[in-house]
């Protein structure tokens, strides 16, 4: 955009989008900040005035705060590990020439199209139900006592469900990355005496590093706010209460908007800390 005229035209054309986006972000942010300094109980007297940092203090000192942070991090970490490891393996598998490649690739991506609520319900009722679930039948077939997945192994169950949803995304990004790997590099490594595993370690994996950081970044952003899956399956019980779920409970179940808003501000801070870390790593990786 060279001329003064085209520059101001560009600004004018972008203005609606920028204003909309800013409004979209700023209004909720300011509302959250506003409520977080108030004692606001809609069903028990409404707006009861300013309370300073009381909400912030009581949110952190609550016995559920640190466990919820821990739960959040375990879910994010667990899902990241599973989706990346399986994603890399699946991407390598899908990159092999085979019959029906197109259909297989669509099938692999399919879980991503299922709404989180629906997929969590499907998992809860069709797979993990201790009486009628497929897994329960499988267990009984081998003469074992069916596992009550969502209560006995609540965290692993949740991680499995969420991983199932996000695996397609990771696979897709990694597959496109793997397809851009120059086959001559692998052949050169083969001639240089690197067996299959070393070729993977020294050539393929470094080539994928950029794609992997992108997957980590995007998934982390979305996984920090995971909600529907918990709401539908355990309802936050059995130690599956994440930070976002705790905020939801404070606002809607305890009807304490001020306390929930303070939690929301903590969530923003947590997300930003993670984002800064990730941007540094990604920035480093994207430069190279």
């Amino acid at each position: 955009m060279a001329t003064q005229q085209s520059r101001s035209a560009a600004r004018l054309m972008m203005a609606p989008a920028v204003i909309l986006l800013l409004g979209w972000m700023l209004v909720p942010l300011i509302m959250t900040l506003y409520f977080s300094f108030k004692k606001y109980l809609p069903l028990r007297g409404g707006d009861l005035g300013w309370v300073g940092f009381d909400n912030y203090v009581s949110f952190v000192t609550s016995s559920s705060f640190w466990p919820s942070i821990q739960t959040t991090l375990i879910i994010v970490g667990g899902v990241l590990v599973i989706t990346l490891v399986l994603g890399v393996l699946l991407a390598i598998l899908l990159d092999q020439p085979m019959w029906g490649q197109g259909i297989v690739r669509i099938l692999v991506i399919a879980p991503f199209f299922v709404m989180p609520t629906v997929s969590a319900l499907v998992w809860k009722n069709m797979f993990m139900d201790p009486i009628n679930g497929i897994l329960a039948h499988l267990w009984r077939f081998f003469g074992a006592q069916p596992v009550e997945w969502l209560s006995q192994a609540s965290m692993p169950s949740l991680i499995i469900i969420i991983s199932w949803q996000w695996l397609p995304f990771a696979t897709l990004i990694l597959l496109t990355a793997i397809q851009s790997l120059d086959s001559e590099q692998l052949e050169a490594a083969e001639m240089d005496g690197a067996p299959v595993l070393k070729r993977f370690w020294f050539i393929t994996l470094p080539h994928l590093s950029r794609a992997i950081t992108i997957v980590i970044l995007i998934q982390t952003i979305f996984l920090l706010g995971i909600f529907a899956e918990i709401f539908v399956t355990t309802g936050g019980a059995f130690g599956t209460r994440t930070l976002s779920y705790l905020i939801f409970q404070r606002v809607l179940e305890s009807q304490n908007i001020g306390l929930g808003s303070a939690g929301g501000v903590y969530a923003i801070i947590l997300a930003n800390i993670v984002a800064i870390f990730l941007m540094r790593i990604v920035g480093k990786n994207l430069d190279a």
Binding site: E187, A188, G193, P206, H207
Partner: protein, 332 residues
């Protein structure tokens, strides 16, 4: 070390026979160039020797021992790829050291060999850079360095200069030739550029559609091409072919005269023609002359003041004439 022999080597991709049974012997220390038009199977042949493709039939022997089913790493051959195939995330030093590291060589020895290769190839100042920060010629040298440190029985080059600009290509051509002189290792070099073949080779293998058309030294191929294909492929500008009456005078189906073996005169000669395009290079002048026998390319040493539309007479040098029969084979 470095003798390679192919016996009845065949390659099929599904139903298509890319390389019909082929025999070839490459002697130790030779610089052999596979040359041919695109799709003639020269790269496939190189990949068969390297072990990157499986042969469909026949035997490959390296230094007298059968290597047909050996994996590429075990054949003691090093390859320089067209795209260089450097590892982009490793420094130049690590790139060159990679094959040694894979062979679990002692780190001290690695250090020494890398330094040695780098000094041969003038890469010492660039050892800590990444391939992305190097120019085309430097990348090419890194790829060669990675091949050198393995001390292979033979080097395989797959069109290594085709990604370089013209000036650099001439330089690298010289460098590779010098490298061959100093190392004395067998080298197999694939190219579609006959100039590279002529300038670098001890032995040229001309390929067409997977078949070997002729094997010989550059000058043998230039002086005594076995058929019309070789005659037309080797030499620049291309050989002129004249069929019909003129050829019949020499008891042949077609005669071939190289552009440099035709005398040009503005006053008298055998064939009369009109100058079409005249390319003035200073050292030479290439004339495209339209005659009754078709367009004839002529190369004249030095500058000749001829312009488009001038009438000239051409006289081919009868002693340098090549005669071909109806099948395109050369007549003695």
């Amino acid at each position: 070390m470095g003798q390679i022999e192919l016996k009845g080597v065949t390659k099929r991709f599904g139903e298509v026979e890319v390389i019909p049974p082929l025999d070839l012997k490459i002697d130790e220390g030779e610089f052999v160039v596979f040359v041919g038009p695109s799709g003639c199977g020269k790269s496939t042949l190189l990949r068969l020797i390297a072990g990157l493709e499986d042969v469909s039939g026949g035997v490959i022997e390296i230094d007298g021992t059968e290597a047909t089913t050996l994996p590429p790493a075990k054949r003691r051959l090093a390859m320089v790829f067209q795209s260089y195939a450097l590892y982009p995330h490793m420094s130049v030093k690590k790139n060159i050291a990679f094959p040694l590291k894979m062979a679990k060589t002692d780190p001290k020895v690695i250090e020494e060999k890398v330094a040695n290769a780098a000094s041969i190839l003038n890469l010492t100042d660039y050892l800590d850079r990444r391939p992305g920060q190097l120019s085309g010629g430097q990348r090419q040298r890194v790829a060669i360095g990675r091949a050198i440190v393995r001390e292979p029985a033979a080097f395989l080059f797959d069109e290594p200069l085709s990604n370089l600009d013209a000036a650099l290509r001439v330089n690298m051509r010289l460098e590779i030739s010098e490298l061959h002189q100093s190392l004395g290792t067998t080298m197999i070099y694939v190219t579609h550029d006959q100039v590279e073949a002529m300038t670098m080779a001890d032995k040229i293998v001309v390929l067409q559609a997977g078949r070997i058309e002729q094997v010989g030294s550059p000058l043998e191929l230039y002086r005594a091409p076995r058929n019309r294909f070789v005659a037309g492929f080797i030499g620049s500008p291309k050989m002129n072919f004249v069929e019909g009456e003129e050829a019949a005078k020499h008891n042949a189906h077609a005669i071939g005269i190289r552009p440099e073996h035709i005398e040009v005169s503005t006053t008298e000669g055998l064939w009369q023609g009109k100058v079409g395009v005249a390319e003035h290079l200073g050292s030479d002048t290439f004339l495209h002359v339209t005659t009754a026998h078709g367009v004839i390319n002529v190369r004249v040493g030095g500058e000749m003041g001829l312009r488009h539309g001038d009438t000239v007479w051409l006289t081919p040098d009868a002693s340098q004439m090549h005669r071909f029969d109806a099948k395109g084979l050369a007549l003695a």
